[in-house]
């Protein structure tokens, strides 16, 4: 199969959906002429014109309000927030309007938009351009939250998100954009709410999101050389969450390491841990559930500090080894 980068896979999903459905359009800061801050929408304005690839002023609230309104009148907009940090400015429309409307109108209205946004650190962009704020939106009923970790998942999940009748926060990762992987040419969907076992193993389960899936897979390779067989589970969508796949894996291995980049306190790992502890998997736990997550600090500008602020492969190896060896 041919290989595409994560960014190319997203672009292809956008192009194919815009070709398939004229109600789909793109709106955001510098998504048109400039091609997006990370080049994701490069070339789409030439193909689909300024009416369907719309550059906005620097106002995230405008983007969120526009896609909410457009979705309400029958369009299928795909907004972009250039850095997830700025989603703070858009959250009134997302949290109080888009997430609520369907419920408050008794299901007579729907808000079928996708809001794409890159999260994560590792680019030296410091505290206001490096955050991972996905769990804020997991907490809001009415929003779906998707976090692809591979080019294949990015394309399939984005097409599924565009076709979904609910507002979807589609969280990409800046460091993943250039990561390549096999991607089919034809359009396909990955149903929201389906996790994937990215690697099978018997000794412990690592549940990881976004770029941490890639790091967990690298860690698993190293650990396999030591005889520790790690199972890596990628929820892919945080909401709705595929609890069944997660629980099944935990029952199989009895040990869980949860890895995400967002700050540990109040992060999605706490939700995952609780889901496991509340489930029948509890009786199979042979060690405490361990979370490995970003430190509870703003992402530092200093590159060394930035590196150590979030889990790296070596941290995952160490944490998984301790867990597998019964030292936790």
């Amino acid at each position: 199969m041919r290989e595409l980068s994560y960014a190319e896979a997203i672009r292809e999903a956008l192009r194919q959906e815009m070709q398939r459905d004229e109600r789909v359009f793109i709106i955001g800061e510098d998504v048109g002429v400039y091609g997006g801050a990370f080049g994701v929408t490069l070339g789409l304005i030439e193909e689909f014109g300024e009416e369907r690839v719309i550059d906005t002023p620097i106002s995230e609230l405008t983007i969120a309000g526009a896609i909410t309104g457009a979705a309400l009148v029958g369009m299928r907009p795909v907004g972009e927030i250039m850095f997830m940090d700025f989603i703070t400015l858009a959250s009134e429309q997302l949290v109080n309007q888009a997430a609520k409307i369907r419920f408050m109108f008794g299901g007579k209205e729907k808000v079928p938009f996708v809001l794409r946004t890159p999260a994560g650190s590792g680019t030296g962009a410091a505290a206001q351009h490096s955050q991972s704020l996905e769990n804020w939106f997991v907490h809001i009923p009415g929003l779906k939250v998707v976090m692809p970790s591979t080019p294949y998942d990015a394309k399939g999940l984005l097409i599924a998100s565009i076709r979904d009748d609910n507002p979807v926060i589609f969280v990409e990762h800046k460091l993943l954009y250039k990561v390549k992987g096999p991607v089919p040419e034809e359009p396909y969907t990955i149903p929201l709410g389906t996790a994937e076992v990215k690697r099978e193993g018997r000794d412990l389960t690592i549940i990881a999101t976004s770029i941490m899936v890639q790091r967990a897979l690298q860690a698993a390779e190293q650990l396999a050389e030591e005889g520790i067989e790690v199972e890596v589970v990628d929820p892919r969508t945080l909401k709705p969450l595929d609890k069944e796949t997660i629980i099944r894996s935990v029952i199989k291995t009895g040990r869980v390491l949860i890895v995400h980049e967002a700050c540990k306190t109040g992060g999605f790992g706490g939700e995952l841990a609780a889901v496991i502890a509340e489930s029948e998997a509890f009786d199979y736990l042979d060690a405490p559930i361990v979370r490995l997550a970003g430190r509870d600090i703003p992402i530092p500008y200093n590159r060394t500090l930035e590196y150590h602020a979030v889990p790296q492969v070596e941290n995952i190896v160490e944490a998984a080894r301790r867990l597998a060896e019964g030292r936790v």
């Binding site: 509890f282 009786d283 199979y284 736990l285 042979d286 060690a287 019964g326 030292r327 936790v328």
Partner: protein
């Protein structure tokens, strides 16, 4: 203006506090916020800070006093200030027990700073001569950051050894004290609670394993799934089958009591000797030929042994004796008991005056007594009056054993099986002979080794040369 020092109410349900010690003395200058005294409640020991800067005065309670909360226990005075009316130091009244009604023994009214009173003296400009002591007097010197850390984490600086210049407590010292505090091992779980993972608990439940018996190899001794699996796989995991319980009663109880008494009161000495049984066996064979020809009783090994033992006992009366208090009684009759094994124990019928009976008579008696013993038809007279006991386990194939003396007798002979084995004869040749080992246990209070040896030598001789029985 005099500031009262009030016994504070530190807890919701607190009625009194006990004074542990004053950190400042009467008349000493104290800064506002400085620790003034230490009090103890039901739950905690706390330092009470001074409510004002000034001179401690009018201390009305001392260490050990139980003081109701909200009561005034001292004053902080400004220089030159007098104690308020009614605040004179008197012998501290016995503190009312906490159960007293609030109306009882009302605390002295707080000195309401009467507006009419003379205006308070101006705040004391700290006279250079009376420089206030440094803060944290009593505690060793500490760096500001050490002070701040100690306060934040509740470290008592008096318990910290300073390693800085002049014993100054540094940040590192406080951090070390904190680390020690954290290193203290966690309290062990109550005995009935076991640290175990959920998986270990599930497996234990499924397999009926008592987790308290499982050794945990996880952190802090936590029992993990593998520990339970290993425990369940170990053979010892099978619950020990309950023993079959038989009451110690009847013959068993009698044997237990008599053997214990014998072994504890009579110091046993044992002697083993080997006997060449060829002549004995041929004599017995000849006797049995005679028995067959005449229809007389068959002569068993035991019967012939009884005859030989009686013969030897007649020659060694100390082996045929009994200790009665302060006296040793050499017995006139030689009555040889024969131990007979039964399912429920053993019994010792007696061949009376065996030294005076012929072999045919003894043989008939032994077979009769043994048969009746096995049938449970012995009379008390059959088992009474024994002066020596013979125990022959040869028929079981036992080669050699020691027996416990049957009290009040002086000795017992344990006889093993006769087996053909190589021996070196007097010519220095190795020949195969039937050899029997017999072991005498004797009561050392009566019998000494040489005596016992002489008896055994004679017995061996008569067994190896049966014709001596005619002597």
């Amino acid at each position: 203006m005099a500031t009262p020092v009030i016994m504070p109410k530190l807890e919701m349900a607190q009625e009194t506090a006990t004074v542990i010690e004053w950190l400042k003395k009467e008349g000493e200058y104290v800064e506002k916020g400085e620790p003034l005294l230490v009090v103890e409640t039901d739950k905690v020991t706390v330092e009470i800070e001074s409510p004002a800067s000034g001179i401690l005065a009018g201390v009305r309670v001392g260490p050990g006093d139980v003081v109701p909360v909200t009561q005034i226990i001292a004053y902080i005075l400004q220089p030159g200030e007098e104690l308020p009316e009614g605040a004179r130091v008197e012998p501290a009244p016995p503190p009312p027990p906490p159960s007293l009604a609030p109306s009882a023994a009302p605390p002295p009214p707080p000195p309401s700073p009467a507006p009419s009173a003379a205006p308070p003296p101006p705040p004391p400009s700290p006279a250079p001569s009376a420089a206030p002591p440094p803060p944290h007097a009593g505690a060793p010197p500490a760096t500001p950051v050490a002070l701040r850390l100690a306060e934040a984490y509740g470290v008592d600086l008096r318990t910290v050894v300073g390693t800085g210049p002049g014993g100054q407590i540094t940040r590192a010292d406080v951090e070390a004290a904190l680390a020690r505090r954290e290193e203290r091992p966690a309290a062990p779980p109550p005995p009935e609670r076991v640290r175990a993972t959920p998986a270990a608990r599930r497996i234990a439940r499924e397999r009926g394993v008592d987790l308290r018996a499982v050794r945990g190899t996880g952190p802090r001794g936590r029992v993990q799934a593998a520990d339970v699996l290993a425990f369940a796989a170990a053979p010892s995991a099978a619950p020990a089958p309950a023993p079959e319980v038989i009451p110690l009663a009847g013959m068993r109880r009698t044997i237990a009591e008599r053997m214990t008494a014998s072994y504890q009161t009579a110091p046993h000495i044992t002697f083993t000797v080997r006997v060449d049984m060829e002549a004995f066996e041929s004599a017995r064979a000849r006797l049995n030929e005679e028995a067959e020809a005449t229809g007389g009783p068959r002569v068993s090994v035991t019967a012939l042994l009884v005859k030989a033992v009686a013969w030897a006992l007649r020659r060694h009366p100390w082996l045929n004796s009994t200790l009665q208090g302060e006296e040793i009684h050499l017995l006139p009759e030689v009555n040889v008991g024969v131990a007979v094994a039964l399912d429920e124990g053993l019994i010792v019928p007696v061949i009376r005056q065996a030294d005076r009976k012929g072999i045919a008579e003894i043989a008939a008696e032994v077979s009769d007594l043994v048969a009746r013993a096995r049938e449970g038809r012995l009379t008390p007279a059959d088992v009474a009056g024994g002066t020596f006991t013979l125990s022959n386990l040869g028929p079981f194939g036992i080669e050699q054993f020691t027996a416990i003396i049957n009290p009040p007798q002086a000795a017992i002979l344990a006889v093993g099986a006769a087996r053909r084995e190589p021996v070196v004869n007097e010519a220095g040749e190795i020949v195969v002979r039937p050899v029997m080992r017999m072991t005498l246990s004797a009561d050392h209070r009566i019998v000494d080794g040489a005596q016992a040896a002489r008896f055994l030598v004679d017995l061996k001789e008569v067994l190896e040369t049966p014709i001596l029985l005619l002597w």
